[in-house]
Each structure stands twice: as C-alpha cells, then as structure tokens.
Chain length 333, copies 2
C-alpha cells in the first residue's frame, strides 16, 4: 500500500519541480526540450534496427510494429500482438519521450532505454528471437557490419552496440512544441479558455501530483487503484515483480500524458478506450473524485493540448540479407 497521502505526493512533486533550475515557468509541467548530445551516426543505425523485422524470429515484427511512430509510438490496441499472434500481457507504452522516464516498462524493470531494447527481441511472447540469433543476422549483412564498425569502431557487433544504437535513436523521439508548451513559453493565446480551465482542474484536483514534469508523468511509480481498487483486465501486478515486495503490488510507472490523444487505449491493461473514460476512472480510483461531465470535458480538452511535433524522418531503407543470412522462420519450427 502506498503510504503518502495525495497532499504529500503533490507537495513532493512541487518540490521536485521547483528544484529544476532550468524550468521555463513556475508550472508543475515543463516544456519538452529538443534532444541534445546525440550521436547522429548512431541514430541512423538505430533507426534501421528499430524498423528491422529481422531482429524477430518471424522476420515480421520490428520495434516499430508495437511502438509505431506513425501512431504516437504505440500500437493503439489494448495489448500487443507477438510472435504467432500471441496476446501480450500488457499495453505497449509509447516510445515517444520515453527517454524522460525514470525507468522503462510499466514495472520499471529496465533502468534505461538501452536495457529495455534487448527485452522484446528475446521475449518468446514478443519477437521470440535470441540475442545470439539476432547478431548472427546482422553479422551476415556487410552493410550492417560496415555501419556498426563506423559507429562503434569495433571489429565485431555485440548486443550492447545493438541496444545502444536503438536507444540513441529513441532519444530523438521527443515531441516538443505542443500547444501547451507554447503556452508555457509565453504564447498566452495558445490555449482556449476551456483548455486552460481543464489545466486548472488538472492541477487543483491532484492529477498533477503524479503527472508532472517534462513528460507529464513517467517520473514515479504509483499504485493503480489508490482510493478504490482497480479491476484490471491484465494479471500484471507491476512493481512488485521487480522488487519482490508485497507493498509494491499494483504499483506501476505513471505513464506520460504527452501525446495522450494518440496513445489510446489507456492504462496498463489498455481497458479505457477514450480519454473521457480514462479521466473518469482516474478521478474516482486515484483521487476519490467524480468529475462532472463539464469538468471531464475540460480536462480532456487540456490533455489534447499535450500533442507535440511528432518525430519526422525519412523511412529507413534496410540493407538486404545475403546468401549467408539465416532466414526467418515465421511458420512452424
């Protein structure tokens, strides 16, 4: 059970926020900053790997299959489809702005994007491959071998290089310039009266206790079902799977609300199809508050101002397999 009260949580969040020296404003949400210190060669390599389904057993599933950059960095279905159409246990979180998360996966079991990137490749329910087999594919393709050598300066490709390159590409997937950020940065007519009223409700009702900072979330673990238990469609128990502590049951990483208009359906089980439903459930279960229809609509209007510039890049062209490249096994075997 979570011990801090909502007021304490909110105060803690506000303290954390005021400690951020570069904060553009005194608001508990900060504008998204463009990515910095990016290795462009590594980004280009990582982009290819992100789109390459040959990192899966079937040759059909890439990172982009479930974290689709045409669709808010998600797959927009409740739980993902894995190898042989296996049903995933949990909703695919957006990859957008994921570099801002305190940890990766809903339960935070990966410390960072690099640690995350290796997971799905070797997960039998997702890409169903192994790191060794994935490396075998990459090493059989001269254009990849050359590009890895150019980026990392090593003779041999290893899984650390693969996950580092994917993570470097993912660091570029931030979404600055949302209308809300324009407002934060001084463009006072960037938001309508209803949207501003929604933001006020969002702050005063306590949503901002957990959904704050640059990503409007992603910086703490919180219990799903704080005031009232959540009847999840997923068997996942969250953070306790990592810490082994009973007190961490149903604690999940607070999802970012950036681009939330695009990242439906909502919650770790993907059970809420609409923002209206998600706001209603959150109000009741986390805050013990039943928003009126008008309040709900205003909060939803505010949330839709968090959609930022989507990553814009040329679809990568993948180097072809060679005669010696192991072929994917989509069926049987």
């Amino acid at each position: 059970m979570l011990k801090m009260s909502r007021a304490t949580l909110m105060a803690a969040a506000l303290i954390a926020v005021s400690a951020t020296a570069q904060a553009a404003t005194d608001e508990p949400i900060q504008p998204i900053k463009p990515p910095a210190n990016i290795n462009l060669g590594m980004v280009e390599l990582g982009k290819k790997l992100y789109f390459d389904p040959r990192l899966s057993k079937s040759g059909f599933i890439s990172c982009n299959s479930c974290h689709n950059l045409s669709m808010g960095g998600t797959d927009n279905i409740p739980t993902s489809i894995g190898d042989k159409w296996q049903q995933g246990p949990i909703n695919a979180p957006t990859v957008l702005n994921s570099s801002l998360n305190l940890a990766q996966f809903w339960d935070g079991r990966a410390a960072d994007l690099k640690a995350q990137a290796g997971g799905p490749i070797a997960n039998p329910g997702e890409m169903a491959f192994t790191h060794t087999l994935a490396l075998g594919v990459l090493e059989s393709i001269p254009a990849y071998v050359r590009e890895f050598k150019q980026v990392f300066g090593k003779e041999k490709i290893d899984i650390d290089q693969v996950t580092l390159a994917i993570a470097e590409f993912e660091k570029t997937l931030v979404t600055p310039n949302a209308r809300f950020d324009q407002w934060l940065l001084g463009k006072k007519d960037a938001l309508s009266a209803d949207e501003l009223a929604g933001y006020k409700l969002f702050k005063e009702s306590g949503c901002v206790a957990c959904h704050n900072g640059e990503a409007v979330g992603g910086n703490s673990f919180q219990k799903m079902g704080l005031v009232e238990p959540y009847k999840a469609k997923s068997a996942a128990e969250g953070r306790s799977a990592v810490t082994g502590k009973d007190a961490d049951r149903f604690n999940f990483k607070v999802p970012t609300l950036r681009n939330v208009e695009m990242t439906y359906p909502y919650f770790h089980d993907g059970a809420a199809n609409t923002l209206t439903e998600a706001v209603d459930t959150m109000g009741r279960l986390q805050l013990g508050k039943k928003f009126t229809k008008d309040e709900n609509a205003k909060i939803v209007a505010f949330l839709k101002t968090l959609t930022g510039d989507q990553p814009s890049f040329t679809l990568p062209i993948l180097p072809p397999s060679t005669d010696s490249t192991p072929r994917p096994t989509p069926f049987g075997k």
Copy 2:
C-alpha cells in the same frame, strides 16, 4: 501449355521493344522513368492509408506490413502472415515499380493498382476486414474526412477514393537510377566486366524473352515450368484461376527483376532463397539450360545492378482515432 517456342517469344519481345519509340537504347531493357502526372495531394493521402493498420480487422496489419518499403516493397518471407498469423498461399510480390505491370497479383486477377488495393483489406486471410468497416473507421476520423474532401471534393468517403489514393501513392514507388540504367543511358563504366558479361548471358540465353522492358518483367504471363515441371510449395495454379482455362494452369505473371537483390525469396511460392538458386532453377526449368557456376555468378552480378533508388519519403503520421472510431479486434471475435 504455352505454344510459342523460346525463339519466337524472344523475337516477339524484341519486336515489342523496338516498337517503343521512347526507348533510350536498342537494348531490350529500358531505363525506369520517374513518375509523371501525379496528384501530390492524393499521394500524401494514399501514403497515410498505405501505412494505416486500421484498415485491418486487427489494427495491426497495413499495406506496408507485407509490402514493406524499407525492404524492397516485400516482406522477405516465403509467404505472408495474415490476420491471426494465417499463412498466405503465395509470395507477396514487390510493390516497387508495380505500376509497370500489365496486371496485378501473380495471376493478374486485378487489372490495375486501384483494383488490387481493395483486395487485401477484405481478404479474410490477409487484413480480414471489409470495405464497409474500413470506411466506417475513416469516416469517424475528422482529419481523414477533411483530407478526402480536399483531394476528391466529395461529401462522403467511398472505397473507390480509398483505393485510388493508395494506387496514386504506389505509382510514385518507382526505382530509377539503377547502375544498369546509368549504363543504358551512356555511363559505360557503370557496370563491371563481369556484370556486362552477365547481361550478355541474360540476353543470349533467353532470359530476356520474358524479363524485358522497363520493369525487366511484369509485362506477360508465362508458364512456370516450361521445359521441366516446377514442383511448387504453393497450391496456386496461376492464371487459370482467372480465365478458367486449363491451358493457363501454372501461368503466372513474370515478376519484375528490378531490385531483385532486395525482393528475396523468389518465385510465386518463395521457395528460392538466393539469386544463385533462382537463376539455376530458371535456367533449367524455363530454358532447358544448366548454367555453369561462373555463368550463374555473372548473371547474378548483372541482376544486382538492377537495384535502383528506393522511394524516399517522410514516415507519415496518422490522424488519431476519435471516441466514435470503431476499435480494432485483434483477438477473439
């Protein structure tokens, strides 16, 4: 059974070629021309639709899933993966340069790209949706409604607009500027001696009888297994399924050899993993000729000069679903 001899076929092809007034050279293969008379607004809309998995029942499969523009416009597996991981009956042909085909699908059952585009959406083994349901999704998304209206000037979206837009995008997917085309256009050092020797063998052995023109194929139906029967892994019988004529059994559209280095595996059943294997099989079964290892290598070297500039464009961002958009049903139902 095909009645014309190989020599007759070859002569016919050469006559057809010399009749093409704009041919850049006297060679039986012509350079790829850049697309002309393109409606750019329609292309942008068609690009979104091409990448939109909401045209499938599961919300997971788009045109790009099996005709992946990162991978030569194919999926690089023998037969495709459809809804619920169903195994497709036939190899996904490349979408690249498909506007140059005399008809679409291996059996030519669609007259053009527009007629083709509606097929997979409603095929229970592929995207497993219906045209009506797909239109329902599109009409629930205001950004799509606006864009269709802008492009087509009509009040309501219909399936003809959908398939027309996808086809218009596909018309842009040509791959000019292959090294072979540079050679055709006068850059005599664009090919190595081996590649040129391979081209000479390709012409003199009779390959060019069927693989000619701008697309190096795609402009006739021919029997697979002309001299020696082909033991197919696919039950598909080709053209006879369209014409109902027994004489058309095992007649398939001759595939384009443009970008063939990228479009593995080969043949309508995807049974040949490498170009070496494909050239050997074609020589024996279609021409009654066993190429030596050296001849085979030279022909393969020539074929690899047919890889052109791949389509280069920004990954489209799809307009999000709304509260009223019907949700995909990836599992059950």
